[in-house]
């Protein structure tokens, strides 16, 4: 069975600080992984995705993520956060028949 674990329900950082949001996955086959962002009262939007190749993938708005097969992880990072980055971030995994399984999300709060 597949699973996606986001161990931090809420992360608070100061504006301008660096950010890492953690994601661990469990899946028996090759993982295809995503990060989505959800702003208040909106649907989710894709930040980035990993299928294969370079384990560091670049996304929108200067976000990047690093895939680690040995650690079963796909952590999201940003060098310097802005207040507008405050949102809920979801890690997701494709599993059988193109279904996409989401983690429970991490709420990011950026303090001014």
């Amino acid at each position: 069975a597949q699973s996606v674990t986001q161990p931090d329900a809420r992360v608070t950082v100061s504006e301008g600080a660096s950010l890492q949001l953690r994601c661990k996955y469990s899946y028996s086959a090759t993982p295809y992984l995503f990060w989505y962002v959800q702003y208040p009262r909106q649907g989710l939007q894709l930040l980035l995705k990993y299928y294969s190749g370079d384990p560091v993938v670049q996304g929108v708005n200067s976000f990047e993520a690093e895939f680690s097969k040995s650690n079963s992880s796909f952590h999201l990072q940003k060098a310097s956060v802005h207040w507008s980055d405050s949102a809920v971030y979801f890690c997701a995994l494709i599993y059988s028949n193109n279904r996409i399984f989401f983690g429970d999300g991490t709420q990011l709060v950026v303090k001014p």
Binding site: Y32, F34, Y36, R41, Q42, G43, L44, Q45, L46, K49, Y51, F90, I94, N97, N98, R99, I100, F101, F102, G103, D104, G105
Partner: protein, 111 residues
């Protein structure tokens, strides 16, 4: 211009009543999905579809039916609504690279 639109955006239903949530996409994507979002549970897949006429059960299909009469439209049907189905429902279409494009959500309260 929104490519995935849901209606209604807000709905209050009575227990035992029938609720239909509608979704329309202009992306021309074959795949469409219905998820529900509850605090502490992220998004959970209810039903999905590979194209007109097809519906597949997701991870939590009990109490829900789905209908895909055309490429553009995908409905979620609650025949006998219960308070446990109070939630926010999201429709999404998926492209060939499995990127999902979400609607803005339908907030359902069952009293």
């Amino acid at each position: 211009e929104a490519a995935v639109t849901q209606s209604p955006r807000n709905k209050v239903a009575v227990t035992g009543g029938k609720v239909t949530l509608s979704c329309n996409q202009t992306n021309n994507h074959n795949n469409m999905y219905w998820y529900r979002q509850d605090t502490g549970h992220g998004l959970r897949l209810i039903h999905y579809s590979y194209g007109a006429g097809s519906t597949e059960k997701g991870d939590i299909p009990d109490g829900y039916k789905a209908s895909r009469p055309s490429q553009e439209n995908f409905s979620l049907i609650l025949e006998l609504a219960t308070p446990s189905q109070t939630s926010v429902y999201f429709c999404a279409s998926g492209d060939a690279g499995n990127t999902l494009y979400f609607g803005e959500g339908s907030r359902l309260i069952v009293v």
